[in-house]
Symmetry: C2
C-alpha cells in the first residue's frame, strides 16, 4: 500500500485527490495549514458549496468509506513541523498542492505578490530539503500550471524542448513566459525541483495543470459533508465554474477582453486520476519529468458559448458580456500544447459535456441564495497593483 | 547629470562601480546593509585587503576626488526603507548588486539556501514595486550571472533564443540550467523582471556577468583606504583571484575536478565600464534586454596554468592540484557564449594578461601574512548540504 502525503489536502484539488487516493487504497495523510479558509475570510469570499471543518470531513469519510485519512495541521514554511511529518510518515509519494494558487491574489498589491512568492518558493524549498534529508527516494508529485508557459507562438511541449541551434542540439527546459507573480512562483519552483533532481538525485513529476472545472467526484458524492469547493469570485473562481454560477443566478457571463485567450482545461475527475497515474508510474531516481495535465483546449469565448447553450436547454436566458480585461495577456494568439504523456499512461479523459455543465449549473442553482454578487466583477488590475482588496490576516503569516 | 542609486555599493563589484560612476560625473548614492561584512564574520573569513568602514571610504573618496557619494544603510527586504530612498532620490538608473552572490554560501545547508533565495528574490521584488510606484521610467541595471545558463550543448545567446519548432517561430527566453540555489535565485529574478517589463512597462538591463577578476580600478588606486576586496576563501573567492593568492603563499592551486569547466571571465575594470555603458544607453520603456557581460572564456585548468606560468616569471614555484569537485557540474563540455552587445556599445576589453596576474600576485604577497589557510579548501559539498560551516548571524536577518 502506497503511503501518500497530500500537502494542501484541504483545498479544491487537494481534497478531491485525498479522497480519491484513499478510496483507491493508499494510506493518505493530509498536511494543511487551513490557510485557504483564512484567505476567504480576509478577502470576504467563500465557496458557494458549504465546506465543513477538516475534522468533520475526515470523520464522515471514515463513516462512509471505512477508510481513515490522517491530518497534520501546519505550514510548509515551518521546517521543524514539515520535517517531523516527513520523517515520521516516511511517504512513498508526496503530492504537493500546498501553494497559493490564484493569479489575481498575487497581483493585488506588493504584500500579496511577496506573500505568494515567499510562501510557494520557500515552502517548496523546505520540502525538497526534507525529502533529501529523510526520504531521498520518495516521489515528489508537484502541481505546476500550464500558465508557466504563457502563450508562445510555437507548439508547447511537455517541459522540455529539443533545440537545434547553429548546427548543435540539446534537450533544454521549455522557455517560460508566466503571466502573474503566482505563475512566476511556479516557474521558480520548477527550476528549483529540476536542480535537485540533477544534484541530489531526487525524483519528481511536475504536473503543469490546466484550468480545472467541476466539483463532483465519485468520492465527494458519497455524503453531503464531503462536498468540494465551488469558487465563483474574481480571485479564486476559475472560468468555467464561475460562468456556471453566473448562468444560474442570471448574471451576465463576464468574458475578459476579446475572449480569444485559449488555455488547457480538465475535469476535476481527471485531476485526481492523473495524480494516481503519476504515483503508480514513478520516475527513475534522479529523473525530473513534466506532464501537461489537461484534456482539451478552449478559448474563454468558446467556454462562455457552451455555458450559454447549456443554460438555454435548462430554460435560462444567459447573456455574455465582454468586460475590460484586468489582466495583461494576448487576447488572440496561437495555442497548441501537447498533452500525451498522461494519456499514454492510461488516462481516459472526461471531455467537457453538456451534462457536466448542466450538473454544475444545477449545483449553483441549489445554492444560489448564497451568492455574493459583489465578489464577481474583477477588482484586481494587473497594471495597477494597489489596495483594491483589503489586506488581511493572510499577510500576517509572511515570515 | 545622471542620478544613480548603487544597491550593494559596499561589495566587491558595487564599490568599484560606485567610485567609477562618481568619477565619471554621476550623482551616486550607495544603498547597503553591510551584510557582506556580517557574513565574513559568521563564516570566519575576510578580504585579504583591509576594508575600511563605509564612512571612512566615503570621506577619503571625497578628499581625493572632490566628489561626494551618498550612503543609506538599510536592507531591500525593508520596503519602507527602500521606497523612501527611491522616492527621495528619484534615480535615473538603479544598479542592483545587493544580493547574496556566492554559490557555495547558498549550498551550505537549508538555512543558507532559503536565506539566499528569500533575500535575493524578495529584495528584487520589492525593488520592482518601488520602481513601479515612484520612478516607473527609471532604468534598472540588474546584475545577473552567466551561471544562469549552465552549460548547454548549444551556443549561449544573450538572454533570448530564436526558436523554430514544428514550422513556427518565436523569440523566447533562453532556457536556463543554473547550478546552485544562488544561481537559481538569479534565474528567478530574471523571470520576475522580464514579467514587469511586459506588464508594467518597466525598462531593465539584465547583465549576465561572468567571473570577475582583479581588484584594482583607477579610482581605487587613488588612496590606500579605497582598496577593494580580494577574497580567496572557498565561499566567496573566485577562481583567478584565489589562484593568485594561493600562488603568492606557496599553496597548490586547487582545481576542482578535471578542470575542464569553462566559463566567461572579465576584469573588474570592464565590470565598471559595462555598467556605465548600460546606463548611458538605456533600453526603451517596457524593454527588457540581456547582455552577457564577460570578455574571454577560460577553463579552470587554463586559468591555473596561466597563474603557474606568471608565477614562474616571478620566481615562484607554483603547483597545481586537482581536488575532488565539491560541485555537481560537467567537467568537460561544450561552451560558446555570445558577448557582443556591450562591445557594440563601446566596451574596449582588458584581456587577461601576465601583467594583471603579476599585479594580483603582488598584492597577495603584500598581505600574505594575513592569509588564513584554513579557509581555502572547499568545505561546502553540493551533494550533502549540512552544517559544514557555522551558522551565523547572517541567518538571523531572514525575515
Amino acid at each position: 500500500m502506497n503511503r501518500v502525503l497530500v500537502l494542501g489536502g484541504d483545498g479544491y484539488c487537494g481534497w478531491a485527490t485525498a479522497l480519491h487516493l484513499s478510496n483507491a487504497g493508499c494510506d493518505v495523510r493530509i498536511v494543511d495549514s487551513l490557510a485557504r479558509r483564512e484567505w476567504d475570510q480576509s478577502l470576504g469570499i467563500a465557496s458557494l458549496t458549504p465546506i465543513r471543518s477538516m475534522e468533520r470531513r475526515l470523520d464522515v469519510w471514515n463513516e462512509v468509506s471505512g477508510k481513515t485519512i490522517g491530518f497534520e495541521n501546519g505550514d510548509l514554511l515551518d521546517y521543524d513541523f514539515l520535517s517531523s511529518v516527513v520523517s515520521d510518515f516516511r511517504p512513498d509519494a508526496i503530492v504537493h498542492f500546498a501553494e497559493q494558487r490564484s493569479a489575481p491574489f498575487s497581483m493585488i498589491d506588493r504584500e500579496h505578490a511577496v506573500f505568494t512568492q515567499h510562501n510557494n518558493v520557500i515552502g517548496n524549498l523546505n520540502l525538497l530539503f526534507a525529502i533529501k534529508e529523510y526520504v531521498p527516494e520518495c516521489h515528489l508529485v508537484k502541481l505546476g500550471t500550464m500558465g508557466e508557459y504563457g502563450t508562445p507562438n510555437i507548439d508547447i511541449e511537455e517541459g522540455f524542448l529539443e533545440v537545434e541551434h547553429n548546427g548543435r542540439k540539446d534537450r533544454l527546459p521549455f522557455p517560460k513566459l508566466p503571466g502573474s507573480f503566482y505563475h512566476l512562483s511556479k516557474v521558480h519552483d520548477s527550476h528549483n525541483i529540476h536542480f535537485t533532481s540533477r544534484v541530489w538525485g531526487l525524483r519528481a513529476t511536475d504536473l503543469n495543470q490546466g484550468v480545472v472545472y467541476g466539483t463532483v467526484t465519485p468520492e465527494s458524492e458519497m455524503a453531503p459533508e464531503l462536498v468540494n469547493r465551488l469558487d465563483y469570485d474574481d480571485v479564486f473562481g476559475t472560468a468555467l465554474n464561475r460562468f456556471c454560477v453566473q448562468a444560474a443566478i442570471g448574471h451576465k457571463l463576464t468574458v475578459y477582453g476579446q475572449g480569444g485567450q485559449t488555455r488547457g482545461y480538465l475535469d476535476i475527475r481527471d485531476t485526481v486520476r492523473c495524480i494516481e497515474i503519476a504515483i503508480d508510474n514513478p520516475p527513475e531516481i534522479g529523473e525530473y519529468r513534466v506532464f501537461n495535465q489537461f484534456t482539451e483546449q478552449f478559448s474563454v469565448s468558446e467556454l462562455a458559448k457552451l455555458v450559454q447553450s447549456a443554460g438555454a436547454e435548462l430554460g435560462l436566458n444567459v447573456e455574455i458580456e465582454n468586460v475590460p480585461n484586468p489582466r495583461v495577456e494576448l487576447e488572440a494568439h496561437y495555442y497548441n500544447a501537447k498533452h500525451t504523456a498522461l494519456v499514454e499512461l492510461g488516462l481516459k479523459p472526461h471531455f467537457l459535456s453538456d451534462s457536466l455543465i448542466d450538473s454544475l449549473i444545477a449545483i449553483a442553482v441549489q445554492f444560489k441564495g448564497d451568492v455574493d454578487l459583489g465578489t464577481i466583477a474583477p477588482r484586481v488590475d494587473w497594471r495597477n497593483p494597489s489596495n483594491a482588496l483589503p489586506r488581511g490576516s493572510a499577510m500576517v503569516s509572511t515570515v
